[in-house]
Amino acid sequence: DAGVTQSPTHLIKTRGQQVTLRCSPKSGHDTVSWYQQALGQGPQFIFQYYEEEERQRGNFPDRFSGHQFPNYSSELNVNALLLGDSALYLCASSYPSIIGGSGELFFGEGSRLTVL
């Protein structure tokens, strides 16, 4: 049973460029959430996708956008990169909890983005 997979694992970009990160959820999961983790901090919620739509969004600018495909995989796009976007980007999958909330989340290994 494949877990959550992310690509690429590492990448380096320069300010102003755009980046796309990819995520395949754990088998049987239909909900994908993206988190940003700066060095020394806990993960911060970016947004969540369910049924190919953005269902929730954290406090991130519109430069951060995403997409979910019919097979439940997802992409995170960041435009006009800033130095402060350097971070570990984590994807998590789950299936919606019957009683609401995130359900148990399972995380991928992350994509480490460095912006120069």
């Binding site: 993960p43 929730q56 984590l90 009683i99 609401g100 995130s102 359900g103 148990e104 989340l105 992350g110």
Partner: protein, 109 residues
């Protein structure tokens, strides 16, 4: 939004020692998870424990939802237990998982 506080922020243990990590949260929660982040950055699920007590080998966790805290116990610590331990919660309804700042554990031989 809900606040999650973890203590202590840093902990250094001798191999074989026991430890208790604490997570306090500011409101009622629907879900509580403990994670271990390894040196390569991956978040490993330890417990999904909105209430009650669970055990998995040398690790156990207890959540007292009515008093808004959870405890993670590590017994007979090993060097491989080193890393950052995160507590994360969400509230009833469609709310995202909110993380604490973590406890950085270093186990020395």
């Amino acid at each position: 939004g809900i606040q999650v506080e973890q203590s202590p922020p840093d902990l250094i243990l001798q191999e074989g020692a026991n430890s208790t990590l604490r997570c306090n949260f500011s409101d009622s929660v629907n879900n509580l998870q403990w994670f271990h982040q390894n040196p390569w950055g991956q978040l490993i699920n330890l417990f999904y424990i909105p209430s009650g007590t669970k055990q998995n080998g040398r690790l156990s966790a207890t959540t007292v939802a009515t008093e808004r805290y959870s405890l993670l116990y590590i017994s007979s610590s090993q060097t491989t237990d080193s890393g950052v331990y995160f507590c994360a919660v969400d509230r009833p309804g469609n709310t995202p998982l909110v993380f604490g700042k973590g406890t950085r554990l270093s186990v020395i031989a």
